[in-house]
């Protein structure tokens, strides 16, 4: 099941050229860019691992792309996303966030029903991937 989080996630995966263009757009808006990765795809897993510090004061996308390549090399079989943070007063939030790498196979989620008092049902989303320990959740293709 394809993970749909963030911008562009219903589109085919962006090529590096398209990622570069998006990054350049974000830089042109004076947004700070951060790269984050995780292998826990749960939608409520908001805070992914940061790849280095967010990048401020960049003018050209080359620097971000360089970090992205480094992150990809270090984290194959992980989700990687790029966040663009707008520090403008009254925004002060992430304006753009999109996935730039996903594992080759995404097993998806199990919908877990827990019976509670009466006939009440509580629903839980459980990613199949998290049954395995962190770091070995997705097969890495050579």
């Amino acid at each position: 099941m394809r993970l749909t989080q963030g911008t562009f996630s219903f589109l085919p995966d962006l090529t590096d050229e398209q990622i570069r263009a998006q990054v350049q757009y974000a830089l042109d808006q004076n947004w700070a860019l951060g790269i984050e990765f995780t292998d826990d795809p749960h939608p409520r897993n908001t805070y992914w691992e940061m790849w280095g510090a967010p990048m401020f004061d960049l003018r050209d996308a080359a620097g971000v792309m360089q970090e992205l390549q480094a992150c990809r090399a270090a984290n194959p079989g992980h989700y990687i996303r790029i966040n663009a943070f707008d520090a403008t007063r009254s925004f002060e939030t992430v304006r753009l966030s999109f996935i730039v790498q996903r594992p080759a196979v995404e097993p998806g989620f199990r919908l877990q029903r827990t019976e509670d008092r009466g006939r009440m049902i509580r629903y839980t989303l459980h990613p199949y991937a998290t049954d395995k320990p962190a770091g070995s959740r997705y097969p890495v293709q050579e």
């Binding site: 990048m55 960049l58 003018r59 050209d60 996308a61 080359a62 620097g63 971000v64 360089q66």
Partner: protein
């Protein structure tokens, strides 16, 4: 950055490879002439430097034309070394260079990131690499200007972290030539020693440009320009005093060419302000803008013996 076909005098053939390229049109299209004329007009002297810049600009223009004609178009090495005494305009020219590279499409953003050793080299193990990379990322798409680059290499301390920064720099200079142009700057002799002990740099730098010292006349012109830009005027007496000042100042330690002139001008402005404050009657516009001989002659350069003068 390749808008093929727009500047060709001859219509583009089906293969998208024009039979001829009009260099004049390319020249006009990039607006490079405007920048070069500006450079000639605004920078006093520096003739060998200007000639080299024109050479580089022509070379890049021809490289563009070659690309359009379908010849080999490996990105040319653009890294440069600016050597010269203090105050000879290295930083100013680097700024212009960034603009020129941007116009010619060899620098995507055309901004200049100016750094020194402190910005690149860390204070403890493992601090240097992230620091250097951070600066490199900021300079991507533009020009990285490393002032007093020889400080990066400290032979007397073999544990110095500068070496680490140098290695990262060399790697990026080699592998990401299209993303980043590096300009190293510093005083001539020390840069030569630096290049001798770091042959990697020498071979990766395509253009070595030497900045000559300014002549007395050029320094005077610069002062006039400084004054003019700040809306001041030199009286005839002041001009004569300044001529003497230049000769005397040159013999003293820490002479920094145009920078010394700027400092002299700033101090003359202070003295002029003091002088105006002591006038009881109303003063006119011409008093406000004119620097008199006494404003300049009050400088310590005239009173102190050359051997004992400090940096003033």
């Amino acid at each position: 950055m390749t808008n093929t076909g727009t500047a060709n005098a001859v219509p583009t053939s089906a293969a998208d490879k024009p039979a001829s390229v009009d260099l004049r049109a390319l020249y006009a299209e990039t607006n490079i002439g405007e920048l070069l004329t500006e450079l000639d007009k605004e920078l006093v002297g520096l003739l060998p430097v200007k000639r080299r810049i024109r050479e580089i600009a022509s070379f890049l223009l021809v490289a563009r034309a070659r690309e359009r004609m379908g010849f080999s178009s490996a990105p040319p090495t653009l890294h440069m070394a600016f050597t010269g005494n203090p105050g000879t305009g290295k930083t100013t020219v680097a700024l212009r260079m960034a603009g020129i590279l941007h116009r010619l499409g060899y620098s995507r953003k055309g901004h200049l990131v100016s750094v020194t050793r402190d910005d690149l080299v860390g204070q403890y193990i493992g601090h240097t690499a992230p620091k250097t990379k951070e600066i490199l990322k900021r300079a991507m798409g533009g020009v990285l200007f490393i002032d007093e680059a020889y400080y990066l290499y400290r032979p007397e301390n073999e544990k110095d972290y500068g070496q680490e920064a140098i290695e990262i720099l060399l790697q990026v200079m080699e592998n990401q030539r299209e993303d980043l142009t590096v300009i190293l700057a510093g005083y001539t002799e020390r840069m030569n020693t630096f290049f001798e002990s770091n042959p990697g740099f020498r071979s990766r730098i395509a253009h070595h440009i030497d900045f000559p010292d300014y002549t007395d006349d050029e320094l005077l012109q610069i002062s006039e320009k400084l004054a003019g830009d700040a809306e001041y005027r030199l009286s005839d007496g002041a001009r004569a005093a300044l001529r003497e000042y230049v000769t005397l100042r040159r013999q003293q330690p820490n002479f920094a060419n145009a920078r010394s002139m700027r400092n002299a001008f700033d101090r003359a402005r202070l003295r002029q302000a003091m002088r105006l404050m002591q006038i009881d009657s109303a003063i006119g516009a011409s008093d406000l803008v004119t620097l008199e001989a006494e404003d300049i002659r009050a400088s310590r350069v005239f009173t102190l013996d050359a051997a004992t003068t400090t940096t003033r």
